[in-house]
């Protein structure tokens, strides 16, 4: 696009001055970037609200619990890094919220957040303690034939139950200045525009579609793990987590997101229970609850632990092994699987099979980290000198994703060769973020390192 007003020079003075002004204005307009995609603008607005808007409440934002640098969730390790005056800890320094708003010990030790899902009539005794669910891949994971299923029990949002309405419930539960929860006094409710923007932003996060398994994985153990996962007579995972997502299987088709009673509440020695703190039973969906909880996607699992609605299990191997245990096999879901099995078995995997399935999930997660990193790095590389702050922001996000991928693979002792390339990518990203000039070139080298790592884990694009 030409912006220089060369035509001005051939026009006689003083007409030239007027013509020049007109032409300059026209040229300036012609040099403007094309109008932004309205959806992209809405998403950007949603991002700003998500991380900055306190809705006139106690200082918390959506990003207080759903931290971008921690895959839009938090855990005890991350919480331990936060300063004492972080809004997450408002119950510790706001006298109006000292009682019955959070349990600081359970928050700090286990990453648990207090929710009054069965009503606010008895704050002392009626509450649940739940982990913070990530908000990645929501476009693939909340739709069901019965309507949207949000939150750990699938009934997280008030009003019409939609993702859009979810923020209203969150503000009321978590952002209030006092336990009176009066709109217009203790907080303000999001506007329609803000709800639209928040919904658009959240829906834009992470995967936008489900995978199609099986994938051409290269790692020996992860490949076997995928086979077990997809075997409806052995792992039986694909029945409820179709393609390692959040949706169930009906014949060859996607049956949508579902709730199941898998017996998590019946696990013995749950960490929060061991603390001696008051933790009432969580009865899941509805009031009174029916004992079922919502199915989360598994692609994002390995770097968003701890697992299950109550953070009962810390590792992905432990989460897979849960399905071997009595709590699951005595649950309605476990008993049903056993009832349809010729040997009367729900799920029974030996240790090596548990590790194989976990390895599969670790590799899937890392591949998604790589996918996300490549998107971010590609966007960053395309930005010019005057957009370097935005470029750096994208690089920082890519650095987190890359770091997660490394942690996940190393934690499973998987693909040391790919880990080496991811480490190289991480170094290149750090250097790119520090540079004023040469950033795009380093970013492109980081992209190549990511692609080398991916090529060692899977044949062809994921």
């Amino acid at each position: 696009m030409r912006c220089a007003p060369d035509a001005v020079k051939s026009t006689p003075f003083p007409t030239r001055r007027a013509a020049g002004a007109l032409l300059a204005a026209t040229a300036l307009a012609a040099c403007q970037p094309p109008p932004k995609d309205p959806q992209a603008a809405l998403i950007a607005e949603g991002r700003q609200i998500f991380f900055n808007e306190t809705f006139a409440g106690n200082g918390r934002t959506c990003g207080t619990c759903h931290r971008e640098e921690r895959n839009f969730t938090i855990d005890a390790a991350f919480i331990a890094t936060l300063p004492k005056n972080d809004a997450l800890f408002v119950a510790e320094f706001n006298p109006d919220l000292k009682q019955n708003f959070e349990n600081p010990r359970l928050m700090r030790e286990f990453g648990l957040i207090l929710e009054n899902l069965d009503g606010f009539g008895d704050l002392e005794n009626r509450f649940t303690q739940r982990g913070v669910p990530h908000v990645l891949a929501l476009r693939t994971s909340i739709a069901s034939p019965q309507g949207p299923r949000t939150g750990w029990s699938g009934d997280g949002a008030p009003a019409d139950g939609s993702l859009r309405a979810f923020a209203v419930g969150a503000v009321i539960q978590h952002f209030t200045k006092t336990l009176n929860r009066v709109a217009g006094v203790d907080f303000r409710l999001p506007t329609d525009r803000e709800l639209d923007a928040l919904e658009a932003f959240q829906a834009s996060l992470g995967r936008q579609r489900d995978l199609e398994l099986p994938l051409p994985l290269k790692g020996t153990v992860a490949k076997r793990g995928q086979e077990i996962f997809l075997d409806n007579a052995l792992g039986k995972c694909n029945i409820c987590h179709r393609n390692a997502g959040a949706n169930a299987t009906r014949g060859p088709q996607d049956a949508g997101n579902a709730n199941f009673n898998t017996g998590v509440e019946d696990l013995p020695d749950q960490p929060a229970d061991l603390s001696g703190e008051r933790v009432p039973p969580d009865d899941g969906f509805g009031t009174p609850g029916d004992g079922t909880f919502n199915t989360p996607p598994l692609v994002e699992a390995a770097d968003t632990g701890p697992f299950f609605h109550n953070n009962a299990v810390a590792t992905i191997e432990g989460a897979v092994a849960f399905y071997n245990g009595q709590a699951f096999n005595n649950s309605p879901s476990g008993r049903f699987l056993a009832g349809t099995d010729p040997n009367g078995v729900g799920i029974r995997l030996d240790a090596t099979q548990v590790v194989a399935v976990a390895a599969f999930l670790r590799v899937l997660n890392t591949l998604d980290n790589v996918r996300s990193s490549l998107e971010l790095l590609t966007q960053s590389a395309a930005l010019g000198f005057f957009e370097r702050e935005e470029a750096r922001r994208l690089l920082r996000r890519a650095a987190h994703e890359t770091g997660d991928g490394i942690t996940v693979l190393v934690g499973g002792g998987l693909h040391p060769d790919a880990v080496a390339h991811l480490n190289e990518a991480a170094r290149l990203i750090d250097r790119a973020a520090d540079r004023v000039f040469g950033r795009p070139g380093l970013t492109r080298e980081a992209i190549q390192a990511q692609e080398r790592a991916r090529a060692l884990m899977i044949g062809g694009p994921p």
Binding site: P158, A159, S162, V185, L189, N232, G251, F285, D341
Partner: protein, 125 residues
Amino acid sequence: MRTLLIGAAFLIASVGVPPAYGQKATEQYIPLGQSPGVSGKISSIGEISGTDARERTLTLAEPSGSRTVKITEKTRIFLDRSKLKQASLTGTFDDLRKGRRAEIKYEDPALKQVADWVKVEITQP
């Protein structure tokens, strides 16, 4: 084929049978007329013109006319005291008084016969 049938039967048996719906707990604190996706779309807002304690019905006068709905033991009744800058409460059938402004969300928005919840605006202490 057998494993596919297992999958289908498992799904039917294990899925939460009731339709997915919004949790009602925080609904208590959403002022009348401000419930996203509900108010002005699938709820009715008007003035309580009558109640029948024996039949447990409520009649609401809205701009389009009057409507009588059933209040069951599952119907949640919320007292919206936000205009008094006081905490909203849960209420009872006795709080459904003639002349009060109210909003009704229906169990079935197409039939509009049974109230899922009723919000009553309290403007005087």
